[in-house]
Symmetry: C2
Subunit: 353 residues, 2 copies
DNA sequence: CGCGATCCAGCAAACGTTTTCGCGATTTGC
DNA sequence: GCAAATCGCGAAAACGTTTGCTGGATCGCG
């Protein structure tokens, strides 16, 4: 069933049907009504591919993430999809699973499908692919790693803000031996977080020497804390490069009978959903996935709607500390009579079935 | 840049270019080479929409889930996407967020995009929409709720198998007061789980009278356990309709100073990733998301490849218990001298950064 | 009442492919 | 060595839309 069938039955031309469907106002109300009637009767839906072919726009955005099962991403995908629905866009989802080959094929497929834009929300990126994509003139949005050229938007993450808050929060709780568990050194984002930690510590006159390298996974957190705990004078607080690391720390602390937050304060980074379900709930630096997705989508939309406009191509996402229950006054201070104080924030809504 | 441009530069017809690209073997190797050369030089990619238009097949599958942020789904999406990539399909993702309106628009959009098939992996479904979709002759796959007609595949979940294992595991650990926390009563899947529990209890001569209704979210689990704990003779083991509920139970138990597994055994259902990161790791009935996605994809592929074939349209997914560390011998038994025994299973690989 | 302006519906071209069909050239068979 | 069969390429017709252009009808105005 196509537009011609409708035209035939409504006794008008296909041009008129097309105009009716696209709500062109200049068509006779009489005809409009007749056409709609037939359309509804037959349950006709326009063929988007044919439409895209002539329009040159597909109303599809590509969304590339690292790994859907990584707890950082579902919220991003959900928000992105919500916005897509609102704006009558479709979304083509792919994950790279950290495989450059896969990334390449993902990009190729997106181009073949003639997407109107691609949001590359993965951390870590092949330089070659960036160039490649740019040659294609597809609007792009990156986080942290994009080049500064027209048609490419960049979301810069302000890591320092949240990490500074975390460090100062810990310092205020009388912690002076604050450790940092970093992420894989090949990730720009991990390095940026580590740098932010150093800066924040320097700012308040503490030396950032307790740094150990993890892998952004639970195992790395466990191993790292194992090392730290074996030190002659172990840290009283640990700041982690991401939440999974922090969860590893908590797990290992549990095994070692170190109580959180009484004997150890732990702070994560990212604020994934999971952090609300740990015991105790994890204090963490929030890098709002919701905001990130929103910014990315808006950027793409801008790029598509006014491709020529001389707009700003760089956006910023600020991080900030959210307090839950994994931090408290340092043990030394508490033994000198101070009362334990844990600050609790309101929790977000829970997960549905 | 289109196929004609290539044809022009290679001094052949568009037909030949098309044949080369689609690897039709009857074309002269000489020409083939020449065409490929031009294609590579120009970085030409065929326009999938034009292709889909004439082929009548889009090589796109729709995937409808309830909510991407629900921990049950990311693994499904990931597996589905992996299979899509392997088979040269693209996937259009939508979530219904439990809104029938949204579900309807999702379906409409999929049809407009002329998807080759839709996997509806949501729990709970509008009857009206099923009929609607069937009228469209799009291959479909459902879980649990689909009608038994050609072109529609159904994945039936065998809830009883896993739940029976769980009940018998608990009984073997000397638990006799085993409670069940059910899910929302409007979900077919929740009711099926509850029924399975009753059956399994009956089978071993225990009466399934400790049943309280939750909401498949952490809050519901907390509330339900609160009730159960206040009973004059509270249960020593709790089986939950899903993992989030179990996590709620563990959280509330923690608040109430009930130790797991020493004073209370807890079993979940689903086996979402999260269960490995709780303390202690949760024993749960696995309903493999990986398998589910795999079956769904295969079913769709079958339907598309041999639409006329008289194949079976119903598939089965079996559930089974996976032991972790949230269950142990009942307290009464332990006080009579038996040693505490916790069984630990191997854990899956952790989450990447 | 006549003429130009205005309006609106339809014709047909275009979008970028695939594929049928026909045709000339080459190979095969006797 | 010639007819017949085979082979490989190209012309052109689809696929289902949108839209610029055209022309007939209606309208307004003098």
């Amino acid at each position: 069933m196509d537009i011609r069938e409708i035209a035939r039955r409504a006794k008008v031309s296909t041009a008129t049907v097309s105009r009716v469907i696209n709500r062109v106002p200049t068509v006779d109300p009489q005809l409009t009504k007749k056409v709609w009637k037939v359309v509804d009767e037959l349950g006709y839906y326009p063929n988007t591919q044919a439409r895209a072919l002539v329009l040159g726009r597909s109303r599809i955005f590509g969304l590339v993430v690292s790994e859907i099962t990584n707890p950082f991403f579902p919220e991003i995908v959900q928000t992105f999809e919500n916005l897509a629905v609102e704006n009558n866009y479709e979304i083509l989802l792919t994950s790279t699973v950290h495989d450059p080959k896969r990334m390449e094929s993902a990009v190729r497929r997106m181009i073949e499908r003639r997407v109107d834009g691609v949001a590359i929300l993965t951390f870590g990126m092949e330089e070659s692919l960036i160039d490649y994509l740019r040659g294609r003139k597809v609007p792009l949005v990156f986080v942290d790693v994009g080049p500064d050229v027209p048609g490419v938007a960049n979301i810069r993450i302000n890591y320092l803000n949240g990490i500074r808050q975390a460090v100062q929060h810990l310092a205020a709780m009388r912690h002076s031996r604050i450790a940092f568990i970093s992420g894989p050194q090949h990730l720009k984002s991990a390095i940026a977080r580590c740098d932010a930690f150093k800066t924040a510590m320097d700012e308040i006159g503490l030396s950032p020497d307790l740094i150990v390298i993890g892998d952004h996974r639970m195992e790395g957190g466990m191993k790292a804390f194992h090392e730290l705990h074996a030190l002659s004078s172990p840290p009283t607080a640990v700041l982690c490069s991401n939440d999974m690391t922090a969860i590893g720390v908590m797990r290992e602390a549990y095994e070692q009978n170190v109580r959180i937050p009484e004997n150890l304060s732990v702070v994560g980074f990212d604020d994934i959903r999971l952090t609300e379900f740990t015991t105790p709930p994890l204090t963490t630096v929030q890098m709002s996935q919701h905001e990130l997705a929103k910014i990315a989508f808006r950027a793409l939309l801008n790029e598509v709607d006014q491709p020529q406009a001389q707009q700003r191509h760089t956006y910023e996402l600020v991080t900030s500390l959210v307090l839950r229950r994994s931090t408290a006054l340092a043990a030394a201070s508490r033994s000198s009579g101070a009362s334990i104080k844990t600050i609790r924030s309101n929790t977000r809504k829970g997960l549905a079935p």
